[in-house]
Symmetry: C5
Subunit: 88 residues, 5 copies
C-alpha cells in the first residue's frame, strides 16, 4: 500500500455499471516524509474518506475486495484513513 493525500474528486456520468454509486477520488501518493511521490491516480473509496485526508490505498484487484461480491473494475482503492505514522 502507499500513503496518499486526497486532492480531488471525479464526476463521471457514463461509467461501468459496477462503479455506480462509488466515490472516485484523486490521490497524490506520499513518501514516508510526507512529500509528494509519484503520479496522481484515481481510486475508489472503501472507508468514507474525503478530500484533504491522508489515507493509504491498495493497488490491483485487492482494491475491489471491500465491495465483494460485486466485481468492481477498480485497480486502486482507499482502505484506511491514517491517524499518524511514526518513523523509528
Amino acid at each position: 500500500m502507499q500513503l496518499a493525500r486526497i486532492i480531488g474528486d471525479i464526476v463521471a456520468t457514463r461509467k461501468d455499471d459496477n462503479l455506480a454509486g462509488l466515490t472516485l477520488l484523486v490521490l497524490q501518493p506520499l513518501a514516508a516524509d510526507g512529500s509528494a511521490a509519484g503520479r496522481t491516480l484515481v481510486a475508489v473509496d472503501a472507508v468514507g474518506s474525503g478530500v484533504g485526508e491522508t489515507v493509504f490505498f491498495v493497488r490491483g484487484k485487492e482494491a475491489s475486495f471491500p465491495f465483494y461480491p460485486t466485481e468492481v473494475p477498480a485497480d486502486a482503492g482507499i482502505v484506511g484513513i491514517v491517524d499518524r505514522w511514526d518513523l523509528g
Copy 2:
C-alpha cells in the same frame, strides 16, 4: 485508475479470439493538472468512448471484468468517461 485522453485507435486483423469485436484505443495518461503523464498504452473500451474524449481506465485483470464471462486478455480497459474533475 488513471485519467487519460484517447488519442488514437488500433487496427489488428489477427488477434486473440476473445478480443474480436472489441475496440482497441490508444491512450495518453494524464496527471491531475491535465498534462500528459507517462507512456501511451492500448486499452479496450467498455463504455462507448472514442478518440478525443477524457476517460479513466483500469489496469490489470480488472480490465476484463466488464466483459465477463468472456476472459478477455486485456490489461487496460476504459471504464468511465470523465465529465469533469475537481481539485479541492
Copy 3:
C-alpha cells in the same frame, strides 16, 4: 496493452513444463509515435507472430488466458498483430 516490435527470440532447454512448446520472443515496447519506449522483455506468442512484426501485448496473468486451461507461468503475451494504428 502496449505496442511493441519483436526483436528476437529465446532458446531455453530447461524451463517450466507449462512453457514447453511455446514461442518465447524478445519485445521492444513502442510509444504511439513508433519510437522505442521502455525496457525490452520476453513474451509468449498466442497469435503466430514473429521477429520483425509490430504487435500488441498484454501484461500479467491475462498473458496466460489464450492457453487456458494450461496454467502458463507467463506475465507477458502477444495477443494481436498490428495492421496499423491511427492517431486522431
Copy 4:
C-alpha cells in the same frame, strides 16, 4: 520479492474490516548492495517483524496469501526476515 528495511509503522483507526488487527509497517526497499532503492511503501506483516529489521516482501495479491481465507485488501506483505544475503 524485494529486500527492505522496516523504517516505521502506521496508526489507522478507520480502516477496512479485513485489515483489523494487522500490523502496518513502512518499508524502504533496498538494492542488493543494501542501499535504499525506490519509494517507501506500507506493508502488512506476516512473520512477526518490526522496525529496524531487514526483510523481504511480496507485492500483489500474494501479499494476502498468509491470511487466507480472510481476503485482506493488501498489495504488499512481509513474508520473511533476512538473516543475511550473499552475492556470489
Copy 5:
C-alpha cells in the same frame, strides 16, 4: 518475463511457511543487449538454477504456478534457464 542474471542468494530462517524449502535468489534483470537493466529483486527458483546463470523470470501471481497447489507468497519466479537469445 525478463532476462536476468542470478547474482546471489538469501538466507532467511523465519519466513512464511509456504516458502519453506524454496530457494530464494537475488536477480539482476538484463536488457536485450545483456546489460543490467532495472533493480535487483528476490525470486523463487522453479527450474534448478543457481548463482551465475542467465535465466528468465516471471512476475506476479504466475510466479507461484509451478508450486501449485501450494499457495506460495512469491511475486517473482525463475521459470527458465536461457541457453541463448538471438536478436533478429
